[in-house]
Assembly symmetry: C2
């Protein structure tokens, strides 16, 4: 009856068959995603260890290999001064899907352990070329690998492995991959990506050489690095049956009291005692003696108990109002900018911080709509804007008229940055964020704050313009009236009208001067 | 230097950690996705074998287990009369990620082999309960399993296995899973999903019993089933290095000529000979003797050669204009509807067919915007509309004013249905489709066609209204003039004005009558 054939495929095979969902849907998108994923790995590798990132990206076209117009084989080389990858991990880290160092509760750009490997896989299936990886952790050796991926088995194939003496203690990673791509069509997004990355990483040097040999330099404007993010333990509120079971399997703790204080974030002795009393579990109970049902009840109690402290955001590394403002001023040079960092908050046990900004006029183009710049853990997000929580807040939850903003005629840009130990991306391509209520609320509150500031700026600006007109009238006629009166009174000395003029001015004269300069 | 810990995670673990990307981002979305994925598996299992689907879905709330308001533990039971799953495959098919029967070139609702397993995984981590699966392929036994998933190893754990005698030759599958969900919040989407499924599967019986015991019945309106989709071979144009390598590894063919005709879609002896001459490959060359470089050149030649015949769409199972129209009329009862099935087309070697419709007035609500109904391989897509290719066509590529359509005031609904051996979803949650140029073009062309028909309908409607007014004037005054003239002429018999009236009518009288009925 059933003629269906059932079988298992490997994760590499899954993503090979479904390239679209990882951001490799066509040759233009593929070259964009490759560059982006490799840069993000490089930034993570430098920042985590406090090295000011120095990243070099070169794209060269392999002429003579062009298949159809625009589409060509490109060699993409990305080098960094990051921490490097230990030699024994290089083959799997680059040649295996779902293998990586990022499966933990820590703010980082990479989260899926997939992007770099996908770039290599895409290169392999379009050009059949191996990837070249050169890396050192700063120890005595530099390792060079040539790798391919056994897609059906999801395992790396090492074609070459050499090592050199590391004379200068160099640390970092260089990746060279050949892929079929459509650079001309991807170029605008790639340049925009670099530009926006420079906004959120103003402490990084980014060098990009395009296929025509043109050099783009984004130089660091500050040596000051944000403090690196740190790893954190899970919060009880974010736990589920599976995570508790895994903890029990590996815990060295002999009783539930130490189990609670050892494995959870912000749970001290007193909190643990109170919680266990609430849950009706003896503090002396052995974790490994919990039955399946006990675990279900424990998780339920964790979600119901309201005495846990909120997750701490110490582990996060937001940008800070100054850096965000500096980045915006540097790249867009607006007339007005207001920046706000919200207090740390939490969803499903994950801490997060929202930073927002609004900018007006100056270098911001009029597009007939609000320009939205979205960032998450310092990644610019360029695709699928309309599915993102920030878009929803900007376009559906805020009534801009309340803030004197005419969306269609004014040059306005809005910036949102979310950092968290877990960004709730809704696609493997990391392009848009789910509308988690807690995150939505924070973005809304932040944007309302900065919109209010913009509103009063616009009101004052308008008042100052009105005032200017009013003063203009006085300035024009007072001297004439004075002169006429003087003549009428047959006096010779026309009185000074300046003190009078000063009296009618409602706003500080220096402000008027300032606005007159514009 | 490098303190990073590297390790591998299983695919089940990956999706456990990243539930958001598979459509399980919160308790409301989770219950929606669970119901939807199970229904889609059931529809596939019936249609593929030509059984008119009979699907029963029941959601019950496990009272006393509620955690916070709305969120509750629900038991979801979905039963079908499909082909059933062979007993030996049941554990892996339901308890293992990336294991399934859908990894082939055939139109089906499921593509990732992930949905059902994700529902079970989500149930397990929120309620720690096993899934119950009862299935028979119509042979002598009915098998009943209770399963859980070893998430870290991505393997099923069989808790129970019984088998019964299959007295009546029953075939089908019943799944029962317990999950934590938010039914009240998910309800509107679930009902909408069922309603839209009834539009595209008017040959199916759908029965739904909600947690309050309310019964929703969507009864089949036709016994006529679309012909089942069939499996197809890959088209040379969609090949890449990896796929050719895999073919070579398993091919029994001894020379390239038979290799081409055996493994590719629509490649006969003559096409194969011409192509191999074009590629400069001897027809007698042994496939297994191709070097890496030969394979790269072969793939390049396959993309450059323009003598291949287009993929045939015989393997596809579109809805057909009649069924689509019937579905729309049944569920929305519009005043006007126009339906168009486009000719088969192809992207990256995958055949696809686009069907579109436009409907106006009647039961279609005025919402201030065009209502967009999206379907893919007979699945309604309800989320992330704005990231979908159809949204782009409707909102960015068509100038509705050209078609006399005022988007903001008129009640208009647009329907798009794409069927293909491979739908280019951009998310694992199967909610929106990439803007592949070929697909975009077909949707645009189809919509322009039906929009033109709507336009002439609207023009005629307006003309008829004008005409009605004109005729009204004649109808009102002609009899009076006749009467007055009769009196003036001192005649007794007032002449019949009807023949006169008929002369001034520009449009057929029956049309006027018809429009007067509205």
């Amino acid at each position: 009856m059933s003629r269906e054939v059932f079988y298992e495929i490997s994760p590499a095979d899954f993503f090979y068959r479904n390239k679209d969902i990882a951001g490799f849907s066509n040759p233009a998108r593929a070259i964009y995603s490759t560059i982006r994923e490799l840069i993000e790995n490089s930034l993570d590798a430098s920042e985590l260890y406090g090295y000011p990132p120095d990243i070099y990206v070169r794209v060269t076209a392999d002429s003579g290999l062009s298949t159809t117009e625009n589409i060509n084989v490109y060699t993409i080389r990305v080098g960094d001064n990051g921490s490097g990858v230990p030699a024994r991990h290089i083959p799997s880290a680059f040649g295996q899907v779902f293998y990586g160092s990022k499966y933990k509760l820590r703010q980082s750009r990479g989260t899926f352990g997939l992007g770099g490997t996908m770039a290599i896989l895409y290169g392999q299936i379009t050009t059949n070329s191996p990837v070249k990886v050169i890396s050192s952790t700063g120890d005595r050796a530099i390792h060079e690998y040539e790798l391919m991926i056994d897609i059906q088995r999801n395992r790396p194939i090492v074609l070459k492995h050499k090592s050199y003496k590391n004379e200068d203690g160099w640390h970092g990673t260089v990746i060279e991959v050949k892929i079929e791509g459509d650079y001309p069509r991807a170029m605008p997004k790639i340049i925009e990506y670099l530009k926006q990355t420079a906004i959120v990483a103003p402490y990084a040097n980014l060098t990009f050489v395009d296929p025509k040999g043109r050099l783009y330099r984004f130089e660091r404007v500050t040596e000051e690095m944000p403090k690196p993010p740190t790893e954190t333990k899970p919060h009880p509120y974010g736990s589920d049956v599976e995570s508790i079971k895994r903890m029990i399997a590996v815990t060295p703790c002999k009783d539930m009291l130490s189990f609670m204080t050892t494995h959870f974030h912000k749970v001290g002795r007193i909190t643990a005692e109170k919680f266990l009393a609430f849950a009706g579990i003896s503090p002396k109970k052995r974790p490994k003696s919990l039955t399946n049902n006990d675990i279900v009840e424990l998780v339920k109690a964790m979600k119901e108990y309201d005495g846990f402290r909120s997750p701490s955001a110490d582990c996060l590394s937001p940008l800070g109002e100054n850096l965000l403002k500096a980045g915006i001023l540097k790249e867009l040079n607006p007339e007005f900018v207001s920046v706000r960092q919200r207090s740390p908050s939490v969803y499903s046990g994950y801490p997060f911080i929202v930073e927002v900004a609004i900018a007006y006029g100056g270098g911001i183009p009029k597009t007939g709509d609000i320009l939205l710049y979205r960032f998450a853990n310092r990644i610019p997000l360029l695709y699928d804007e309309a599915s993102d929580v920030s878009w929803k807040v900007v376009h559906q939850l805020i009534n801009w008229k309340h803030y004197n903003v005419d969306v269609q005629t004014m040059p306005i840009a809005v910036f949102t940055h979310i950092c968290s130990t877990k960004i709730p991306y809704r696609s493997v391509g990391k392009e848009f964020i789910a509308d988690i209520p807690e995150i939505e609320r924070e973005i809304l509150a932040g944007l309302r704050d900065v919109a209010r500031e913009l509103s009063s700026y616009l009101t004052r600006r308008r008042a100052i313009e009105m005032e200017k007109k009013r003063i203009d009238v006085f300035e024009r006629f007072l001297p004439k009236i004075a002169k006429f009166s003087t003549e009428l009174a047959k006096e010779k000395q026309v009185p000074d009208v300046k003190p009078l003029l000063k009296k009618v001015v409602k706003y500080g004269a220096e402000e008027i001067d300032e606005s007159q300069e514009k």
